[in-house]
Amino acid sequence: MAEATHNLKVQPPPRELEREPLVLNGRSLGWISDRVAGIIEGPTPKWWWAAFVPSVLVMTLCFTMIAYLISTGIGVWGLNQPVGWAWDITNFVFWIGIGHAGTLISAILFLLRQKWRTSINRAAEAMTLFAVACAGIFPMIHVGRIWFAWWLFPIPNSNSIWPQFRSPLLWDVFAVSTYGTVSLLFWYVGLIPDLATMRDRATTRARKFLYGLFALGWTGANRHWSNYEKAYLILAGVSTPLVLSVHSIVSFDFAVSQVPGWHTTIFPPYFVAGAIFSGFGMVLTLLIPLRKVCRLEDVITLRHIELMGKVILATGSIVGYAYGMEFFIAWYGGNPYERYAFENRAFGPYWWSYWIMITCNVVTPHLFWFKWVRRNMVVVFIISIFVNIGMWFERFVIIVTSLHRDYLPSSWGYFMPSPVDILTFVGSFGLFFTLFLLFMRFLPMVAISEVKGVTPQADPHHPLGGAKEGHH
């Protein structure tokens, strides 16, 4: 049988119909294992230290600022009356938005059978988790009395006081914690086969023990695979609505209020699109340098980058449409307060932030209409940075420009960040990068088993299939 197949001459499809392979240069399955595991098993590269030490320092800065904040009071930030939220919630929404790409890639693209997801989903999911961790900090520390923040949870107590279930902030607590938990589970379940690979390859007792512990006794038996696939599918199904719900609920923080500029029904879809937009932006920001330094160009290929560019183009267009629609409704709705809020956004004291947002989120993504742009790593990297900046400013514009001038002109004010605001935000990047660098040094940053699954060799009907050479 095998003989027959071997002799069968398969006509290659015409060149224009040929799909770019997901793993380039016909790399063997063994090569994939070696290359990905090599990042962990090899000596610690100098660049890693060069990135890790500053990250830890910046993270320390973040925690120092938080300690100062908690010991002294929210006043160390630049918040005021009327701007009760500014960088704190901007950062929260920014990070939680970034956290959308991972689960979208892992869950929705999985359900849609988008095989290209495999080489980026692990890193993207890890990014999600760390972004959610960064996001979780801000709403927690932004409250005036952090030591009572647990009152937001429905914990039975002797006073029978429950949280207020009508408040979107409470919904946030549930939405974000659910999302964080499910994302973590999903990520961990996906890691199990690779953890077993790492265990099997381990040369030291400690590694053997730790990877073995977390591999949960994975042997690669058919039953394991069968259970694993089911679990993964279920988790993907559970995660999918969460991708949509989390940012919808985050948008309710604004949409449910009565502040002109916040009180709009367009927010849930617009926020979700923006979140995916920013998430992919951050994935690109991380993976473009990583594929280079980890020599993963054959696994995370130009095709992957290009596809992500297309997602950015699509979601960026949705976001741009939403910006336009907000203005249209503000004019068409006839509410003078609403109309003023949007005029003020574009031409008021914070005009610069609005136009930074428009430039980064609406103008630059349209460069991705050009294929050469999508395939030029330097340009894509720069655009991905623009997307990150633009999406931070989008949240800043929504939050600060709406709050600083609302109904009564007598209470109009101006917000300026304090150094503590800035350093806390910068510090959160330290936390993010520290966690990410630890992740890539200790866990396989590409899903080895899944990538192998989408190589031609994994297809028993493929000329190279059937695992005839190399090993798992």
Binding site: Q81, G84, G144, R145, P163, R166, Q258, S410, S411
Partner: protein, 1108 residues
């Protein structure tokens, strides 16, 4: 109706009980401190001398509980004498009350009548005392002029009592000495002059209305006939009496009856703000602005002024002119009215060229009003302007109607210039200064501090160790008026009593005691002095009864002198006109400086009062400092960086300054210079620079240090009020001047709704016609009102509500400070205000409308609206802000975690967040150091406030109100502590009858109580008799942002202006209304389709119907 409300206010207070007759005869005023006192042992005398003075001067340790209880119980003894607790005299104070003072219930506040001496007047008060410490000042409702209202200075004066920086020791040449030593020295100083009849002895006094002080002065004058007496006050409100006396040929004082005046012309007279007893004037003036229905008439106010004052803000017509030209305007008006009876006036009238029509039409209107007209001249203006005003009043027949003259004590002969002369020449060997701070506030040309050093003895009684302290040889700490006995007369001459509520905290001494010691009285205790004075003032009879009633009521009934007939002689006016040298007018690069009393710190005496420092100026909204105010045109002429390339309309909005900062300039006049920032003030007269007094202190407490710029450095005795010929040089520096309101234009929004009287008559419900949804009658809410869906949650007994009559409000700030005092609202400091974090629960929004050179001002008190459908409540994740069954929006501080979401979702932005532990932050942190970090590094819980400062400030707190910690949100509660107190009292009273509804007039909120204009009215909207329900039924009643359908319980009554058709600056609508209509809104005076005010929509909007 309005008048009846207040006398009932204190129905529940113990004040109303007439003291019971004494079971055993009293033996004089003695209150024992111990049995030793009876023995009069030398040890006892030593102890008496040491106990408070030395103890107090060594009182640098915190006001420990033990010390405090000691002081407190001593105070009870005083009160016992005051007649309240009967005549029993508890003996030595023992820490636990084994025998309670009669009538004392622990935790229940008591009210005592007293008064605050204010310049040449006194403000009758009812002061709340909590367990022996005074905590809140209210106006005495027994005083007909005030009816319970007071002013901001009075409200804040209680904080001075607990000022940790007040003088606490007797000092010789700046070094502490014991109290007896100091008194001995005083005696020896005085003794030097007993031989020569006081030759070389001088007294420098602040104006006072105290009969006791006058009596002691007379005694001293008899003893030292050669001694000289000098009166000094940087803001001399005594000029009214002096000029009137001069013109009438007898010592008289004018009393203005603004309530009777139908047409008022103010000649640079800020009678609603910085003149004598402004709260009485506001009361009277606002009476004439009350409008119930279209048939009512309103008074009309014309204001001629250089500054933009709150009087100008309340005016129907305002003419900005240079201060030196006010005389010209006055003379022009007089010529119109006198019709050539005083031909010499032309010379004065030449001083003003400009709005002829404004003047002639104004004069016509005054003439038409006849005896109902009133012309008042401001204290800054020269004698000729006052005389013109009196002459006009006389010609119109107003004398005896809108202005009366009452006999007044003859003013002191000498002034500060005379004293400076005698000091300089060495004639004056010793000076006794009572109260004043001349080293700081004397005209700069006198070099007074240097002159004082020439005297061999400078004895001074001062409240602070201030600039003058530095040049005194002997300094006594002055007692607060709540610590001592005294008396005074109100602006209408009514005799009032001052009784202490607490033993002097730091051994303060009253001016009466110093004078009594100098006079060598038998007893120099102020108590005896005041009693003895009263003996001469009341008719023969039961003196004890009169005394007790006097102390108990706080005012002596029918003690106001009868007005006397006065003839203002034309000759005096002619003389004044003849002497009048037309001032050289400002022009080109010559500017005219106006020195004015500050709305916050007065002449500097409240410089160390944090509440007042943080009270926004009613017009500029600047806090914590003064600035050089200039008009927009002048700013452009000076080519200030703020003014460059700006649409002049932007000057209404200080938010340019928030971003760009304010230019620092050097102001020079007559070789004297000061530097400070320029603030562009719309509506100020061009070429004028307004400069508030009272800031830039070199030696003051930790609150006032470093605040503002010292205007006195430019002030001379020749031109103390305004000076022509100032030059301005830019320094190129930029600083930020801090204000609480950054945007001054209303942007055409219907927030303050105004109409002219005629428009109102045409369409009385115009205000509701300005609602956004007035044109969409069927647009109703999708969701049911919470009270409709759960009617069982709504109380049928009480539903609280408030109505604010914008027609009456003049923006005087009294409510802001009353709220601060009542509700333990902390001050946050300049730096924090700069960051937009002021904590005032009640603020007064000020909007400019119209042309930036001649804008109109509208004020609006803004506090929690207590929405029935509150947007803050639904977003709080922890249920910290909830609704109660009586319609209050409740804030549970304990439950608040501080997400600030409620504040974001509040459309009125009335919620205030504790960004820091403001109550624990040391005052020194209140400064602005210009760094990016929020103030000097605050170490959070690790930082320690100086114990003395901290503990003293704690004593000023209202024990019925929680002191909030950092991280929690707070806001106006409608004074829930007062509501609950009244409800409890009513329940006790009701007993089994079940009549638990608190009757109207039993209590009210702090802001409503203090409001002299009675613009704020609070009450139960379910009560058919309640005034608030009546007001809410009026057609002027509207909700701010009512279209949000939150159903605010605080509603506003639209302001009605009463301009004169014939005036050149007449506009069809008030300028805010013009801006509203210009903003593409339909005129609210035209009827809409029948649907616009369909019967279905209207009752739903009227909160009078049981709350929604």
């Amino acid at each position: 109706m309005e008048g009846e409300r207040l006398p009932k206010l204190f129905r529940l207070s113990p004040m109303k009980t007439i003291p019971p007759p004494c079971p055993e005869p009293e033996v004089g005023p003695k209150y024992w401190r111990s049995l030793d006192q009876l023995a009069e042992t030398p040890e006892f005398n030593e102890w008496v001398e040491r106990e408070f003075p030395a103890g107090a001067s060594e009182f640098t340790d915190p006001v420990s509980r033990r010390n405090f209880v000691k002081i407190m119980s001593a105070s009870f003894l005083l009160m016992g004498v005051a007649g309240l607790t009967g005549c029993r005299r508890p003996e030595e104070h023992i820490l636990p009350f084994t025998r309670l003072p009669e009538g004392y219930v622990h935790g229940v506040a008591q009210f005592y009548a007293t008064a605050r001496p204010s310049r040449g007047s006194a403000i009758p008060l009812l002061v709340k005392s909590n367990d022996g410490r005074p905590s809140k000042i209210e106006g005495n409702p027994q005083f007909s002029g005030g009816r319970g209202g007071t002013d901001g200075y009075t409200q804040a004066s209680i904080l001075n009592l607990y000022d940790p920086d007040r003088a606490m020791r007797c000092a010789r040449n700046g070094n502490q000495v014991s109290r007896e030593e100091a008194f001995q020295e005083l005696q020896s100083v005085v003794a030097q002059f007993s031989a020569n009849g006081g030759q070389g002895l001088s007294f420098l006094l602040e104006p006072s209305s105290s009969p006791s002080r006058a009596r002691l002065q007379a005694v001293i004058a008899a003893k030292f006939p050669q001694a000289t007496w000098h009166s000094f006050d940087p803001v001399d409100l005594d000029v009214h009496a002096q000029i009137a006396s001069n013109a009438a040929g007898q010592p008289v004082m004018p009393v203005f009856h603004f309530d009777k005046a139908r047409r008022i012309l103010s000649l640079d007279c800020d009678f609603l703000g910085t003149e004598q007893d402004s709260f009485v004037a506001i009361k009277g003036f606002s009476r004439g602005r009350k409008i119930e229905n279209a048939g009512n008439e309103l008074n009309r106010l014309y204001s001629v002024e250089a500054l933009f004052t709150i009087t100008g803000g309340a005016a129907d017509h305002r003419l900005p002119v240079l201060p030196s030209q006010v005389a010209g305007v006055a003379a022009r008006v007089a010529m119109e009215i006198l019709k050539g009876q005083s031909p010499g006036l032309q010379k004065v009238a030449d001083g003003y060229k400009g709005e002829e029509k404004w003047i002639t039409e104004c004069a016509k209107d005054l003439l038409a009003a006849g005896k109902n007209a009133l012309v008042v001249a401001g204290q800054r203006q020269p004698e000729v302007v006052h005389l013109i005003a009196h002459t006009i009043n006389q010609a119109l027949g107003s004398v005896g109607e809108t202005v009366t003259f009452i006999p007044a004590p003859a003013p002191l002969k000498g002034n500060l210039q005379d004293l400076a002369k005698t000091l300089s020449s060495g004639q004056t060997k010793a000076v006794v200064i009572l109260g004043a701070n001349p080293a700081y506030s004397a005209p700069a040309n006198l070099d007074f501090a240097v002159q004082l050093k020439k005297a061999s003895h400078v004895v001074r009684l001062g409240y602070y160790e201030d600039e003058t302290f530095a040049v005194t040889t002997l300094h006594f700490p002055e007692a607060h008026f709540l610590e001592t006995w005294g008396d005074g007369r109100t602006g209408d001459g009514t005799l009032v009593s001052i009784q202490p509520l607490i033993e002097p905290l730091f051994g303060g001494i009253s001016d009466l005691e110093i004078l009594a010691r100098i006079a060598g009285m038998n007893s120099f205790r102020p108590y005896d002095v005041v009693r003895d004075t009263l003996k001469g003032l009341v008719p023969e009879g039961d003196f004890e009864a009169s005394w007790k009633k006097f102390i108990h009521d706080g005012v002596l009934e029918n003690s106001a002198p009868k007005p006397v007939a006065v003839q203002i002689s034309a000759e005096k006016l002619n003389n004044a006109v003849a002497q009048f040298a037309p001032p050289q007018s400002a022009g080109g690069d010559q500017y005219e400086i106006v020195f004015h009393r500050d709305y916050s710190v007065d002449d500097g005496r409240y410089n160390n009062n944090g509440w007042l420092q943080e009270t926004p100026d009613p017009i500029t909204k600047i806090v914590w400092e003064n600035a050089f105010l200039v008009s927009p045109k002048t700013a452009q002429a000076l080519s200030l960086s703020l003014a460059a390339g700006r649409d002049p309309e932007d000057y209404k909005n200080n938010d340019i300054g928030v971003v760009k900062g304010h230019d620092v300039v050097e102001l020079e006049i007559g070789g004297r210079k000061i530097t400070g920032p320029v603030w562009i003030q719309p509506g100020l007269a061009d070429q004028t620079i307004a400069l508030a007094l009272g800031y830039g202190r070199t030696r003051t407490g930790r609150v006032g240090a470093g605040a503002g710029y010292n205007a006195y450095l430019l002030r001379t005795s020749e031109s103390p009020h305004f000076a022509v010929g100032a030059k301005v040089t830019k320094t190129g520096k930029i600083v930020r001047v801090v204000s609480t309101q950054e945007h001054g234009a209303m942007e055409g929004r219907p927030i303050i709704r105004e109409a002219n009287l005629e428009q109102y008559r045409k369409k009385t419900d115009f205000a509701r016609n300005m609602d956004i949804d007035a044109h969409a009658p069927n647009a109703g809410p999708i969701y049911k009102h919470p009270y409709d869906s759960n009617p069982e949650l709504k109380s049928k007994v009480h539903q609280w509500g408030m109505a604010v009559d914008l027609s009456s409000c003049v923006g005087c700030n009294a409510c802001v400070i009353a709220c601060q005092a009542e509700n333990n609202v902390p001050i946050v400091g300049k730096d924090q205000v700069n960051r937009g974090r002021e904590m005032h629960w009640l603020r007064i929004d000020r909007y400019f409308a119209g042309d930036v050179n001649r804008p109109q001002i509208a004020h609006q008190p803004m506090m929690c609206q207590h929405c029935e459908n509150a947007p803050c409540e639904s977003v709080c994740p922890v249920n910290a802000t909830v609704h109660d069954e009586e319609g209050l929006n409740i804030m549970a501080y304990n439950r608040c975690v501080g997400t600030r979401y409620c504040s974001n979702n509040c459309a009125w932005k009335v919620r205030r967040f504790n960004f820091f532990d403001y109550n624990k932050r040391p005052n020194a942190y209140a400064k602005m150091d210009g760094s990016l970090m929020p103030g000097p590094l605050y170490k959070g819980p690790l930082a320690k406030r100086e114990p003395l400062e901290y503990d003293l400030i704690k004593m000023a707190k209202n024990p019925d109100v929680t002191v909030r910690m950092r991280g929690v949100m707070e806001k106006c509660t409608f004074c829930i502590q007062r509501i609950e107190g009244a409800k409890i009292s009513q329940k006790v009273k009701a007993g089994a009858s079940g009549d638990v509804q608190v009757p109207e007039g039993t209590f009210t909120t702090a802001c409503a109580q203090v409001c002299p204009a009675e613009a704020i009215v609070f009450g139960n909207i379910l009560d058919e008799n309640s005034q608030v329900q009546q007001l809410k039924k009026r057609d002027r009643n509207y909700e701010v942002l009512g279209f949000l359908d939150t159903k605010p319980r605080t509603t506003y009554l639209a302001r009605i202006r009463n301009p004169n058709h014939a005036m050149p600056d007449f506009t069809e609508s008030p300028l805010t209304m013009e801006e509203y209509i210009k903003g593409h809104n339909p005129s609210p005076f035209e009827a809409h389709g029948s649907g616009a005010h369909g019967t279905s929509a209207q009752p739903a909007r009227a909160p009078s119907k049981g709350g929604h």
